[in-house]
């Protein structure tokens, strides 16, 4: 039996595991599958757009967050002080170095980066892996965006044209896909694994050298190696005598996979047990009247008898609608699938959506979630503690639409760490 059972192996679950194991707890992480790190850009979005000004990218997120909280006192960021938030991010940066996938921020500390998106827009984000940093659009070097003919998940001409329209000079070029793979069909992860190969790396470097002009920096799809990524980056920069940066692609996200794999390995080395393919479907709860109840155990389905998982403490980090922690039906009900924790979104389909897909105010159904107290423990709408040994963290928390605000990883990391700190003390 462990001290802490974390349900969910996304960024918040894993950062909670990191925090807890450092505090000396025996940690067990179970998850149905792998999570949204595999789909996102691999950056740490802290706050990209605030609801008050949806058209303008936030320049300095930590300075903007107090205003965000004032307008929305139930935002997950309200659970943390600014110092705490900054500290947690610093912890993440330090950890990323230990993981071998170092993250960094803008040249002017405290600024958001503006990184090229795969469509050629400017994405505001706070921290990015080293491999993406040279793409910061606050830099002045013109960009050469290089793609591979027939690679279906990346379009350099579109990116270059849009960046240029936005005022960031860029031009596009193609290299043959055969240069970096002999396969007929590759997804981005397979392409990246192919580029771990020394010969392929050399071929790519030589080809880029012929394309680049002096003073340019080179943007490539995020497939620059999996295990050999940092080496490949350095090689390419040396070979071309230019800065090289990755642009994230359609899922699967190679930067996300790099972060996930390295974090998972690190945690395992620290003694954390991580098991995927375990779907927790129900919990055995006691809830005597008037007193917070307790989680006795949780259960997952197996090929025969249900498996009972026990721990002293439980942390729910199952990610909401996208993560699978919430389900919904045609009658407008949305529910949390394990503990049936109360959720704040409208229980009525009429109020779930805006007519426009890209509506600036977002869709209310995605804004709701689990309400927690300042110790990250789920509470009723009256603020009553539900279960004495249950905590919750991540993007399942109520009152923010992290995709709309571009705060997904910031929320995940900050609340994952803080919840683990709360339960460890």
């Amino acid at each position: 039996m462990s001290d802490l059972l974390i349900i969910g192996a996304g960024l918040s679950g894993l950062m909670a595991a990191y925090t807890a194991v450092k505090a000396g707890l025996r940690v067990n992480v179970v998850s149905k599958g792998l999570g949204s790190m595999h789909w996102s850009a691999g950056t740490v979005d802290l706050l990209g757009y605030s609801p008050a000004q949806p058209q303008t990218a936030v320049k300095r997120p930590l300075e903007q967050i107090p205003a965000l909280i004032e307008a929305n006192p139930h935002h997950p960021y309200a659970l943390l002080s600014n110092e705490h938030l900054a500290q947690t991010l610093a912890t993440f940066v330090a950890l990323s170095k230990d993981l071998g996938v170092p993250y960094g921020g803008a040249a002017n500390p405290g600024d958001n980066l503006l990184l090229p998106s795969p469509a050629g827009a400017a994405r505001p984000t706070y921290l990015a892996p080293k491999g993406q940093l040279a793409g910061d659009l606050s830099r002045s070097e013109p960009m050469l965006i290089v793609g591979f003919t027939g690679m279906r998940d990346f379009y350099p001409e579109l990116i270059a044209e849009n960046l240029t329209k936005l005022g960031y000079p860029a031009r596009a070029a193609f290299l043959p896909l055969k240069l970096i793979t002999q396969r007929h069909d590759s997804n981005t992860v397979q392409l990246a694994q192919g580029l771990d190969n020394k010969e392929q790396r050399a071929l790519l470097g030589a080809a880029l050298r012929k394309l680049v002009r002096p003073g340019e920096r080179i943007g490539l799809p995020a497939i620059l190696g999996m295990d050999a990524h940092m080496t490949l980056l350095a090689e390419l920069e040396r070979e071309t005598n230019s800065l090289v940066f990755e642009i994230p692609t359609l899922p699967p996200s190679v930067p996300g996979v790099r972060l996930f794999k390295s974090l998972r390995r690190y945690l395992q080395e620290q003694g954390v047990r991580l098991t995927a393919g375990i779907e927790v479907i129900t919990a055995n709860l006691t809830a005597p009247n008037g007193v917070p109840g307790a989680v006795q155990w949780v259960e997952s389905a197996t090929s025969a008898r249900p498996l009972k998982l026990r721990a002293d403490k439980y942390l729910l980090a199952t990610g909401g609608i996208l993560g699978g922690g919430f389900n919904s039906d045609m009658h407008g009900r949305v529910w949390e699938t394990i503990f049936n924790l109360p959720l704040t979104m409208p229980q009525d389909r009429a109020n779930w959506f805006e007519p426009g897909f890209l509506a600036t105010q977002g869709h209310p159904v995605f804004n709701g979630g689990v309400t927690v107290n300042q110790h990250f423990q789920p509470v009723t709408e009256n603020g009553q503690l539900l279960y004495g040994n249950l905590w919750a963290a991540g993007n399942l928390l109520a009152q923010s639409d992290a995709i709309l605000e571009r705060s997904t990883e910031g929320t995940a990391i900050a609340t994952g760490v803080a919840a683990a700190q709360a339960l460890s003390s």
């Binding site: 599958g33 069909d185 997804n187 699967p252 393919g277």
Partner: protein, 422 residues
């Protein structure tokens, strides 16, 4: 296929959100273009197969090894490996099953035949001429690690011989040995019996037959149905008496628990009773340990032990119980393999056209073992075919964790692979 089992699994294709996580982790599509990946052949292609089509539209699904990494990493619960298994069965139903696959499916029969004169059988099979012929005629890869028949007699022989001297107790357990233990590796069974008895259990080894998994994997559903029904008939009385049916082969126990009932639409109360009574041995030992019932009078075994959990554990969905128990043994430096699959995948790696793919898939594991250093003497894995593949790919002996445990109790010799006081 018109079985109900399509419908236990077919609807799971609705869960797919096309995210590609499965394809990113699939060890087979990582090494070969012949397999486009689990998302493509599973939930995606499934929408293009259905009943009543003039022909099966696809073939690349045949390269799915059934390792289930896809199921494990899928965030929404698509039963990809099961979808693929049924699609393969459908292809075989249409195109017929090659003789090679029929042969590989009949593990028990082959076992029986060879054990009549095991020395001769081993000689006959394990020489280069035979292997080359087997490859040319049957398509069985000449280098694939086929087992050796036991020359010390079958496990069944040993059970009969030692009937009188084995422990009698009020606490009883039924041991399901499976074909590999019976004909090729009776020492696994002996180690298991030693561990059960050390913990005070009388071991019953009632009549039982092959679980039928190789038949299922090769699409012979009718034959597999007979096998499973026979097992249900033979073992039901024990299940109904509240006895646990415990096995040392993760593939056999999975077949009894879930694979056979699900693939064959065995919806009966009896089949369910068998499911609920079946345990993998380390799953069972862990349960005993959780109740404080497991004896922990271990000797120290000082070794670096790379452990590889076989793919079937993904389907058992009970975690990696052997790790939970082996870490109790003082001195063992247990190294958990993160490798996705050893490659053999049941009968997959034995097929000529798949042998190299299997070795390429297994390279991740072989390299992991090599990375654990020079001091490593042996590896551990719960599935017999994985052990044979591990030995083939690492040139190191491979042991079932139950052998390690029996040795830790002082009852078993890991090098000789035999009981100490036999």
């Amino acid at each position: 296929m018109f079985t109900k089992s399509w419908h236990s699994v077919g609807p799971s294709l609705d869960e797919c959100i096309k995210c590609n996580i499965c394809t990113s982790y699939c060890p087979v599509s990582a090494v070969t273009d012949l397999f486009p990946g689990p998302k493509y052949v599973g939930p995606q292609a499934q929408r293009f197969r259905e009943n009543g089509q003039p022909q099966t539209p696809d073939h690349s699904v045949d390269y799915c090894s059934g390792c289930r990494v896809c199921n494990e990493v899928c965030p929404t619960g698509v039963k990809i490996a099961e979808l693929n298994a049924r699609a393969r069965a459908q292809i075989m139903a249409e195109e017929g099953i090659p003789l090679r696959n029929r042969l590989l499916g009949r593990n028990e029969t082959l076992g029986k035949i060879g054990s009549i004169a095991p020395g001769l059988a081993n000689f006959g099979l394990h020489n280069s001429f035979s292997r080359v012929m087997a490859e040319k005629v049957m398509g069985i890869a000449r280098e694939a690690p086929l087992p050796h028949w036991s020359t010390e007699g079958t496990f069944g022989d040993w059970v009969k011989k030692t009937q009188a001297v084995r422990l009698k107790s009020a606490k009883k357990v039924v041991y399901y040995h499976g074909c590999a233990t019976m004909y090729y590796e009776p020492f696994i069974g002996k180690a298991a019996v030693a561990v059960f008895e050390h913990n005070g259990y009388e071991v019953l080894v009632p009549p039982q037959n092959c679980c039928g998994l190789p038949l299922l994997s090769n699409g012979e559903f009718d034959a597999a149905t007979d096998y499973h029904q026979n097992n249900v008939n033979k073992l039901l009385v024990y299940a109904q008496a509240g006895l646990d049916i415990v096995g040392t082969s993760t593939s056999c126990t999975l077949t009894l628990k879930e694979e056979a009932p699900e693939l064959l639409d065995f919806d009966t109360e009896q089949a369910k009773a068998i499911t609920m009574a079946t345990w993998d041995i380390f799953e069972w030992l862990r349960e005993r340990h959780d109740h404080g019932e497991l004896k922990t009078d271990f000797r120290e075994i000082n070794m670096v032990l790379p452990y590889h959990a076989p793919c079937q554990y993904r389907a058992h969905r009970v975690g990696k119980p052997a790790m939970d128990i082996l870490t109790l043994i003082p001195g063992i430096d247990l190294r958990e393999s993160q490798a996705r699959c050893c490659g053999i995948a049941g009968t997959y790696g034995y097929k000529k056209e798949k042998y190299q793919i299997a070795m390429d898939v297994g390279a991740e594991l072989f390299n992991f073992v090599a990375d654990q250093g020079e001091a490593v003497e042996m590896t551990a894995c719960d599935s017999e075919t994985c052990r044979w593949q591990l030995e083939h790919g690492t040139d190191l002996p491979s042991r079932h964790p139950i052998e390690i445990l029996a040795a830790a109790y002082g009852l078993y010799d890991l090098d000789k692979r035999d009981l100490i006081n036999s």
